[in-house]
């Protein structure tokens, strides 16, 4: 059984449908890239997968031991976060929040988990630093460590490299690839079709023409050719 399956999904907001009859499934350990033009519904799809918004029709089925609230999420930065006074450790620890339920404070295991993930992201030396004083790449690592506290199975990344310079971008992709090799399913939303094609093993292209399949199939498809040509060589 696949980890996440979307059946006949119709998405939209304010009563307007922007995506019709979307069908795809993700297995454990996959690296799926969601590409598409601005306004094609990438963010709406993501919000629906996360359960922040309900689909107009159709359903999302999670399986293989995955619950909807076990999807780790790396959101795009918000204005609020840019000058937020909080240490790296406080933020990473907040990823454990959902495990707490009504318990008011974090347990020893949760603190240990947070420290492990800080270590894993290579930011152990920044633990006590203030989030707003970090560089863009370091901030993304902090948020990634937080997402790892919330999941062991699936990560959903919303444009994880937007605003980063090429060197940091490459490091970020390697970091994500490493996590995927450790067995975490990765769903990444990206504008960067080049990176999508070099790291992902499945592609979901949404827009006027919808495509879902492996990378190889995508490169041979009509949708992929058109988009790959324009988008890949900017």
């Amino acid at each position: 059984m696949s980890q996440l399956e979307c059946r006949d999904l119709c998405l939209g907001y304010d009563g307007r449908t922007i995506l019709h009859n979307l069908n795809f499934s993700i297995d454990s350990g996959d690296y799926l890239c969601i590409v598409g033009e601005n306004g094609s519904g990438k963010s709406t799809l993501m919000k629906t997968i996360l359960g922040l918004q309900s689909p107009i029709s159709g359903e999302i089925i999670t399986g293989d031991g995955l619950h909807q609230n076990e999807i780790g999420y790396l959101p795009q930065q918000t204005v609020v976060q840019r000058d937020f006074p909080a240490t790296v450790r406080e933020i990473v620890l907040s990823g454990c929040q959902a495990r707490c339920g009504l318990r008011p404070f974090y347990s020893k295991e949760e603190k240990k988990l947070a420290d492990e993930n800080i270590e894993k992201m290579g930011i152990a030396n920044l633990g006590k630093r203030c989030y707003r004083e970090l560089s863009g790449g370091q901030q993304q690592r902090v948020l990634l460590a937080r997402a790892l506290c919330a999941t062991k199975k699936m990560l959903l990344l919303d444009e994880p490299v937007s605003g980063l310079d090429p060197k940091v971008t490459a490091e970020m992709y390697q970091l994500i690839e490493g996590l995927n090799k450790d067995g975490i399913t990765v769903i990444m939303i990206s504008h960067d079709i080049g990176a999508a094609l070099s790291y992902a093993d499945k592609i979901l292209h949404i827009g006027q023409n919808v495509f879902f399949g492996t990378k190889k199939e995508y490169l041979e498809s009509e949708v992929g050719k058109g988009f790959g040509m324009n988008g890949g060589r900017e």
Binding site: G72, Q97, C100
Partner: protein, 283 residues
């Protein structure tokens, strides 16, 4: 030792002690939530809600209610919920809706007071509601007890939900996506802030409540860099400034509310300087 003598003389009067107790409690509560509100870009909510409370008070006065709390508290709580909890999806966004409700209820309140006034000293009434000129020095024992109980509840709720409030403040959609009931905590924050504002109207009046909410938080953010230290510093600073402000106003005979706010402003300047010198980000 003139000053000490004078102070100990004043402290023999229960109303001075009451004022100090209520002042400390209210400033503690408001500063705790202030950090969250400032970070959520809702600095003006204090202002907006206090004007709602002013409007509700006028209505209560017109209706001839002896205990206006019955009307003021529910109306303020409902407005807070509308502004904070439903704010994300509303058609009119955060700052605009706060401004709209704030100005609207101020105008309606004043209009009603003018049309149906029973008092001979209308402008005096309005002035004391807006600036809280004397009411803190005329508190009854029941009011002090009510205020103490509510403050204890607010502080307890804040400590109990501290980690959840942090999570919801820092990143609401992440919290939602990983299964934290963000809506409920937003609701909780809204209700608590409404209660604090209704309480604080006695202390500084409805125009100056925002100062109690935002100044300690902003000052603490100049210097400290973790959420916990900012929260603690903001609470300590707020209690200190309010106590000092009340003492000064008792000794010098200045209006309580504006004296407290003036002390808060001095503290803010001081903290900005410290933050600047110590190399903290002074943005």
């Amino acid at each position: 030792m003139m000053l000490v003598d004078k102070l100990s003389l004043y402290f023999q009067y229960p109303f001075v002690r009451y004022a100090l107790v209520v002042g400390v409690l209210i400033s503690l509560c408001s500063s705790l939530l202030g950090v969250t509100l400032v970070l959520k870009r809702f600095s003006f909510i204090g202002d907006g809600l206090s004007h709602v409370a002013f409007g509700a008070m006028s209505v209560a006065a017109v209706l001839g209610l002896t205990n206006d709390m019955v009307l003021v508290l529910p109306v303020t709580v409902i407005s807070a919920i509308l502004l904070l909890a439903a704010g994300q999806n509303a058609k009119i966004k955060g700052d605009a809706s706060v401004a709209m409700i704030s100005v609207g209820s101020l105008a309606i309140g004043y209009l009603l007071m003018n049309l149906f006034s029973t008092s001979s000293n209308l402008s005096g009434d309005v002035c004391s509601t807006l600036f809280g000129s004397t009411s803190i020095l005329t508190l009854s024992k029941t009011e002090v007890i009510l205020c103490t109980v509510l403050s204890v509840v607010v502080v307890a709720a804040f400590v109990f939900f501290y980690n959840k409030i942090f999570c919801v403040t820092f990143d609401e959609s992440f919290a939602r996506a990983t299964g934290t009931k963000a809506g409920i905590y937003n609701l909780l924050i809204a209700v608590i802030i409404a209660v604090i504002i209704v309480l604080a109207m006695n202390l500084v009046g409805s125009l100056l409540i925002s100062a109690l909410v935002i100044f300690p938080a902003l000052s603490a953010m100049r210097v400290f860099r973790s959420f916990r230290s900012v929260t603690i510093c903001s609470a300590v600073l707020s209690v200190f400034c309010s106590s000092l402000g009340i003492l000064i106003s008792v000794l010098a005979g200045t209006p309580v509310g504006s004296t407290i706010v003036a002390v808060d402003i001095v503290a803010f300047a001081l903290f900005s300087l410290i933050g600047f010198v110590s190399g903290g980000k002074s943005k």
